[in-house]
Symmetry: C6
Subunit: 269 residues, 6 copies
């Protein structure tokens, strides 16, 4: 079980154990089993299951393809956290489906290429909708927010844009890699604000193209996995590995983005 | 009755039942009848009837055409919630008339084409005034606010503008699809602010043209429905269906908006 | 009396009756007479009379022409509320004179042409000063504020400018048609801010030209009414109607404003 | 005495009488004499005398010419309040000298030409320093503040600039003609902000030129009055009239300012 | 002693006497002597001596030349307050050295030329570092702040820039000539903000050139005075006068600054 | 020990002694030894050791090269504080490794060349990552913040940019050289804001090039020191000196930056 919780610390771990203990009690067991611990992890990350939510078939399909998009791109891009589970059972307040990625070990540094891969994974749910349905939905709102936030931190806090350089922009510190950013005090000029906007968009666009390329080349795989997901509602790590491994390794051309720093060429490393 | 309340949840449903119970008590009945439940729904959505308000004949006519505009466009555009009732009896604090649309099932995702249709329906009251009276009134203020808000969210939160891309703009989250938006912290440059303004206007303009096209092609139908509305003050779902069905299905040319994303072509799906 | 108070509601009506009751008590009457009710209306609208204020003859003349301007333009423009009284007796904190317009019935909608007429009436006091004295005074400050506010709402809240379109601009709602507007949260770009400024100025300029045209063509009438006003200090509705009716109906050329929406051609309806 | 206090109201008058009563008590009189009332007026307007302040001869000369400048321009420009007293005895917290102008009657309106004359009078202290000493001092800071404030109100509140037009700019009302303005909420674009700045500067420049012209043509008179002031420290109304009347009336060319409204031609009316 | 405290008032004088009384008590004297009063003045102005601070020889040399720069320019420029003492004994929280200038009499007005001289004196510490060490240090931070503040007040409050004119810019009053300015409410356009910046820089640049010219021409004198200062740590007024008087009076060419007002020609008056 | 704490004052020193006393108590000694004092210094500066943190080998290598970069550049650039210790044992909340530089004596002034060297040292951790791994990480976030802050103070507070000049920009004082800056009140124009941004970037770019040059020329040395660090986790001052001294002194070409002041030529002094 330790392999599944390296990303959790302090209060999160406590929450997890509490949730698992409650579930065990509900199941009339006096020990916490592996099943209950896993359910505990998902509760802490996405809230309790909401099976009572009646989602119509069309939306169910959109959600299935959306999550399939996240999972495939996470699998294909090097250095992404492994996909532990894909689900289209609604959870908590807002999650209609989710793809659970768990890191294999604690991490303290994020490289530029890893951050770009992370953004590409975040965008791939929306990309999947676009490819399959030729229409896009409000379901990607949270993904876009997190992708933009990460791209913005790369540009303004982490010196990862050649145009901006090794300058830290904005006065208040933002907690990097957390879901919530704090309103910043703009201490730079309009011209620099525009350069930031352009760089953030360039990163997002590059990652979007990357995700689109990966998924377009795997349309059949998408249909297969989304189909299984619609049928069973949940796919676990082993099943996902099996479905992915059937795929023939494909040659993927390298992405080039002129506006981004030179060291970007290891994007696909 | 369940078919008429899928859009309501929690507190709303409680309100509805309370209102209906009060009405039943006032009618000296010990059971809540269907009539009282329906009236309850309208009270929760638009406030109590205000028959005492003396509205002059000219304004009455404007209101009738305004509501007729909403109703016809809602009926014509695919994927809009069905029109349940049209009324020109004033209600609550501000409603001089209203068109009650009720969803057929709970919805969790809104696609770009559905959002554009929703905006077109919101604008169609104003469009109707313009076509019929060649003057426009303050009566559309609330419609314009909601249409602008929806268009703005498409552009800044939902990544539905190709120019802006999959970037989330503005720092504080806004509750999407609720009537009230929260003041945002502008974290982008002037140039991007102007692009947002242009994109929002492009969406509004496209939806306006759409609504205008639909209504201009159905001028006779407008006169017929507004006439019935002025006579009876209220039109229910069945009557509205009957009035609409008399109309010959018309060929509606497709709308093209260059500035909007390519996937816009399914606007008329 | 009901004919004179359709514009008043709730708290205003209560104020009015209180004022009238106090006046009746002061006059040792046990019933409120029509005179006291009328005085009550004026107190609620402009404050108590301030006959003790010593205003010099030159300023008295300016005030008389200022009010005469308001009254004539209100009479000439279609759809304006009828002039109930013109007075140059100071009232309350700030009113040096006033023209009392009372609506003939409750109104719930304001059309674009009515709003433009209202602005023209507001500007006509200043226009009158300019025509007669070739100098302008601080006396129009409040008129300009209300005219600007109305024009701004037309452009930013009511979708009545073709350049801006059916977009609602500014984040906080403003109570439309009330004297006081609330500081807004600017959620648009500098370019749009400038377009708003241009549109507001275009509306004000068009209405100013309209008022100037009307008054320039009626200079003799202005002198006649201002003369009566200087002599008697107050002109009531009947007397005003009589003075106006002596005038020969004049052909007034139509105003055209290129920057404003096409439906503007019904300005003179 | 009534002639000397028309500008005062309410609290000011009470202050005045209190001050005069205190002075009478200090002089061991049981009645307030005319002298004490006059001293009371000056105390209310500029604070108590500060004879103990040791001002060096060079600064004394600058102050004398500064006040002489105010007084001469106030006398020459039509419609200015009459000069009641010129003094170079320091008063209160900040006044090193002062020119007391008292209105001859209560005023309720200020015309554009009167406001421009008022600004010219405010600037004339600085102008006098420049002409005589070829260097300028910090002594005009308060004059410049009041002149700018008045010019700004003409442009943004009173519709007295043709470029800006009859538009009221800025959201919070400012008490017009009081020494202190309240921070405004800018509700206009950068372009309009710049036009306001240009118009305010155009007004200030025009009034400055006017004051400079008047004083340059009266250099001998300036020397004479400043000389008397340095000798006696105070000049009263009669003495000032006598000194001014000795001057030969001079032909003063009219000021023309292109950027200002046409009705500006009555500047010298 | 009165000659040394004309610049002090109210609370400052009280502080001074308290400090002197404490020192007298510490010295077991029952009367305050002249020595204690002088030390009191310096304590009020720069804080208590900090002889314990170990400053290395290189920094000691920089400080000596910095203070020598202030003192020489203050002596050379007309109208500056006389140099009472130069010291490189650290005092209070931040002073590593100081040049004590005391006015000869109370002053109430500051002319433009005096203000420019004051700025030149403030900048001359930094100028001295640059000439001697060809590197500059953080030691001038407070001088630059006060110089900028004075230049800004000349431009925005005192009408001493011809480009800006006699317009007061910024809404809140700033206490002129005090070390601390209050955050202002910008009530002007970007274009004017830039003109202010340019004018402030033009003033600073002109004064910098002036100081540089004065010191470059007196390099030998600088070495002599800095040498004495490094040896004795303190130079009093008499000693400073003696050192300066040995210098041959030099012909100093006049400074011309195109962007500044014409009356700038009396800069060296 | 005094040689190792010149940079510490007041509360810091107290903290240090407390920490050392606690460590001595834990080691069952009744005297504080040199070892405990040294550990105390590091605790005060970077927090307690966190040996329990499991950092993977790849990240360990990145951290080792990052710290090696700081140490080599600090050694090579003249005037930098001596390197006392290099460590890759995590400490406190955020430090994954650290290079401890301790000044040899108290300092009160910072010259422009010293500040630029300090910035170069701050940037050299990131530079090292780039050279060795061809990818960059989030590990430099704090370095970039401090480097930017220092560069910004040089430009806006310390008059060290020729383009900006000796003007202090921004209204609130910032505590110079402390890690935290206070939000400033922008009192300058957009154009100046952009010039500041350009100057800050020019300084950062120049220092980055400097650090890159130094490290690129010492790649073998980097590998040697990073190797030792990975093996032993800590390198003390003597060991570091020994490793550095083996290196042959290299000719380093001078850096020239056109946009920066002329006195920049002593950058390598």
């Amino acid at each position: 079980m330790a392999r599944r919780t390296p990303g959790l610390v302090g209060a999160d771990l406590e929450n997890l154990v509490n949730e698992a203990a409650l579930l065990a009690a509900r199941h009339n067991r006096d020990k916490i089993s592996m099943d209950e611990l896993e359910e505990g992890i998902e509760r802490v990350m996405a809230g309790p299951e909401r099976k009572s939510r009646l989602i119509n078939d069309h939306e169910k399909r959109i959600i299935a393809y959306h999550e399939t998009g996240h999972a495939i791109v996470a699998k294909v891009l090097p250095g992404s956290d492994p996909v532990h589970k894909i689900s289209i059972i609604p959870r908590g307040h807002a999650a209609l489906g989710y793809t659970l990625q768990l890191p294999e070990e604690d991490r303290f540094l994020m490289s530029k290429s890893e951050l770009m891969n992370r953004i590409a994974v975040l965008l791939s749910g929306r990309v999947s909708e676009e490819i399959v349905f030729n229409d896009v939905t409000s379901g990607a709102a949270n993904d876009l927010e997190r992708a933009t936030q990460t791209a913005r931190q790369m540009v303004t806090q982490l010196g990862m844009s050649e145009t901006i350089g090794l300058v830290k922009l904005g006065n208040k510190r933002e907690e990097i890699f957390l879901g919530r950013d704090i309103s910043e005090d703009r201490n730079y000029s309009e011209e620099v604000a525009y350069k930031i906007d352009q760089e953030v968009k360039a990163i997002i666009d590059a990652c979007y193209e990357r995700a689109k390329e990966i998924l377009t080349q795997r349309r059949a795989l998408m249909d297969k996995i989304a189909g299984v997901l619609l049928e069973r509602e949940v796919i676990d790590a082993e099943e996902f590995e099996r479905l992915m491994s059937e795929e023939t390794a494909q040659e993927i051309p390298e992405v080039r983005i002129d506006k981004l720093p030179d060291n970007n060429h290891d994007f696909l490393a």
